[in-house]
Amino acid sequence: MTPATEPMLQLLAPDGSYGVEKEYSRYGEVIDSLAEDQLKTFYRDMARIRRFDQEAIALQRQGQLGLWVPAIGQEAAQIGSGYAVGKNDHIFPSYREHGVAITHGVELMSILKMMRGVNHGGWNPEETRFHLYAIVLGSQVLHAVGYAMGVKLDGKVGTGDLDNDLAVISYFGDGATAEGDVSESLLFAAVNEAPIVFVIQNNQWAISSNIASQTKVPLYRRGEGFGVPGLRVDGNDVLACYAATKIHMDEAREGKGPYLLEALTYRIGAHTTSDDPTKYREEEEVEYWRQRDPIARFEVFLRRQGVDDDFFEEVAVAGDELAKDIREQTFALTKPPLESIFDNVYSDDHPEINAQRAWLRAYEDQMGGHE
């Protein structure tokens, strides 16, 4: 299904040509000020994250991971928006934002460990400003709004001091917009004028449910009823994603209230490695969207800007090295220590936890430990 024509911000067409429509001129201005190095970084990271995804899928097929959640096809939406997030801003992902993760220094192995069952998401949200993955759909959006409300209470909105002020970016998918928590989030954000940008990555499939069954109205308009304005962006156009996120995060930080971006993209791969999309969608549709690949179009664009083969080869080699490194690290992962079952259930001391930890220790001693 190709969505109906709605106004959409697009700077980079699928064929790689760049153009700014008049009503979107301020977004174009953002791109004009970008240096070539920054553009190359966009490409390198999109390629890197795709290579990572492919390797992770293989590792799952080899029994090294219980599950993998591929973001293939969504690289532009994630890298573009990720790099537009400000230096103090906080990010609330769902569970597929690996591309956003690498723009904020989250180690890819951290994500892998979670999918392998070593932990439930073990990176430091405060340090990276990239909060933990959320598996209950939409639950994290309320947290993001609460965080933004706190930022406002702190007086860190609209002072004009970029070292002081911050905004919050909240990612969720098209399927999650059906959850009540997302509606409540829009409501709370609006009535509190919270400094938050909601980014819906509309990859058009929620496992086997097409977007048409999840909404009657294009998702960028979902916030209207609550008082949150929105914009549809071509989610496969890394420049549009960057520009839109930059402008609207800046505005949120300045105190203009919440905003909603719909990044229209496509889930090229399966929902997860347990899924088989051939059972519910047509190959023609997937092919249609392959023609609109974010990385391919950006390569065309860069080459037109004069970036040469050396760069692309270097990126490919770096990708292979990344894959090899991930593979080796994965094989070296050990099972977490048994008693970590009891760590951090509470922040404060707790008698039941203490008693049960001691019991398990005694039981394991008696059983002679594991092989």
Binding site: Q62, G63, M367, G368
Partner: protein, 432 residues
């Protein structure tokens, strides 16, 4: 160079098997990491499997069309160096992977799902004492200090049925709790013999039991005794509270650990003391002469399944308290086992019959042939008693005794019984 094997993974969160649809490689082919080696079909979908190793295909271990369980090696590949460890170590990899001979071999790896084989470590358990979270240690210590009684609910019921006061019982269980044996043992003064059940209604109108063996012997002895010696019985009630306290102290003393201590022991000692003061009671009547014995072979009437027998403790008067206690215990055990010999039963000089165990207050015992006195120890019960002109609850027992009036007159009998009673009332007299 080594052989690496690729076990079939669980590609879909809980799948248990898959069918090999097609092989994309053959033995001898060179393979690279992630190269597709086969297609499998699971309950959920058709999936391509990428090779985990780089090397040369050695053998395809399963065929197209086979349905294979997750964890079964499907291909072996010759690789450079060591075969990569596809199973994950629990700890840093210096743990040797030995074959313990246990059945289960599937590595516990995410993505390999449920193997179905259950692994048990019980036989390897280093020590088999259960980890007790049941009774917090602090409570056990507190119980030792407090008056709290520790006994399982069924034991409490048993104690109630037998009329045993758990407060008087020392627990010998693993945690200091009172056990079934402790209760039954403590019930000697009460109703171990109490009928707890009513027998079924017999179907015949009468039962005929032949008179023979032990029953015949008892009958003969009873008749001989009862119709030869003139029997006279006298009774006295006495406050046995101090005896009961003394028994309790002895029970918990180290010297008497593991030895049964009951009021019968004190009674025996009291009789021996009283005999010294009233020697006539410890004699034998023959038509020609009265033989006064200067030793005490103390008979103790014992109920056995085959009937009443009276084995005696030889020279009981030369024993100290501990020896006497052991002798009584030994005698009772031997009788219970049915191993009492005729020698054990011969040459008794005086007898004590403990009818208190049956819950009976007192009675008129029949003399053991050859003896002139027999003392009956009855039940010891809490009763109102007057102490210093006040009514208080004390442990009261009736001492009954029967005498051969040919030898023992009323005054001797009374003095003897009084002496026994005095000791029961005040065991300290034994220190004399």
């Amino acid at each position: 160079m080594s052989i690496a094997k690729f076990p079939l993974p669980d590609v879909g969160e809980g799948l248990t098997e898959a069918e090999i649809v097609s092989w994309r490689v053959s033995p001898g082919d060179k393979v690279a990491v992630n190269q597709t080696i086969c297609e499998i079909e699971t309950a959920k979908s058709v999936v391509e499997l990428p090779c985990p190793f780089e090397g040369e295909v050695s053998e395809l271990l399963v065929a197209e069309g086979d349905t294979v369980e997750v964890g079964t090696p499907i291909i072996s590949v010759v690789v450079q160096g060591n075969a990569p460890l596809l199973s994950e170590p629990d700890a840093p990899a210096n743990e040797p992977e030995g074959d313990t001979g246990a059945e289960y071999k599937l590595p516990n790896l995410v993505g390999y799902g449920d193997s179905g084989d259950v692994k048990s470590r019980r036989k390897r358990a280093v020590n088999t004492a259960p980890i007790s979270t049941a009774i917090p240690v602090s409570m056990v210590k507190a119980a030792a200090a407090s008056d709290a009684v520790m006994a399982k609910p069924p034991i409490r019921k048993l104690a109630k049925d037998l009329g045993v006061d758990l407060g008087n019982v020392t627990g010998t269980g693993m945690h200091g709790e009172i056990t079934r044996e402790d209760v039954v043992g403590s019930a000697s003064q009460a109703s171990v013999f109490k009928n707890l059940t009513t027998p079924q209604q017999p179907s015949e109108r009468e039962e005929r039991i032949p008179v023979k063996g032990v029953r015949k012997a008892i009958a003969t002895a009873m008749v001989k005794s009862a119709f030869t010696a003139p029997h006279v019985s006298i009774f006295v009630d006495v406050d046995a509270t101090r005896t009961m306290e003394y028994v309790k102290r002895l029970k918990s003393s180290v010297d008497f650990a593991g030895i049964k201590v009951t009021p019968l022991l004190i009674m025996a000692k009291a009789m021996i003391w009283a005999i010294r003061r009233n020697p006539m009671v410890n004699s034998t009547w023959t038509d020609k002469e009265i033989i006064v014995h200067n030793f005490v072979n103390l008979g103790i009437a014992a109920a056995t399944p085959r009937g009443l027998i009276v084995p005696n403790i030889k020279d009981a008067d030369s024993m100290n308290m501990l020896e006497l206690a052991q002798a009584i215990e030994q005698l009772a055990a031997t009788a219970r086992d049915g191993k009492t010999t005729p020698e054990d039963m011969a040459e008794g000089t005086i007898t004590i019959t403990n009818i208190g165990v049956f819950g009976v207050d007192t009675g008129t015992p029949i003399l053991n042939p050859g003896e002139v006195s027999i003392v009956a120890l009855g039940s010891i019960r809490k009763k109102p008693w007057v102490v210093d002109d006040e009514i208080v609850v004390r442990q009261i027992t009736t001492i009954g005794a029967t005498f051969d009036h040919r030898v023992v007159d009323g005054d001797v009998a009374s003095r003897f019984v009084q002496d026994v009673a005095s000791v029961i009332e005040e065991p300290a007299l034994l220190l004399d």
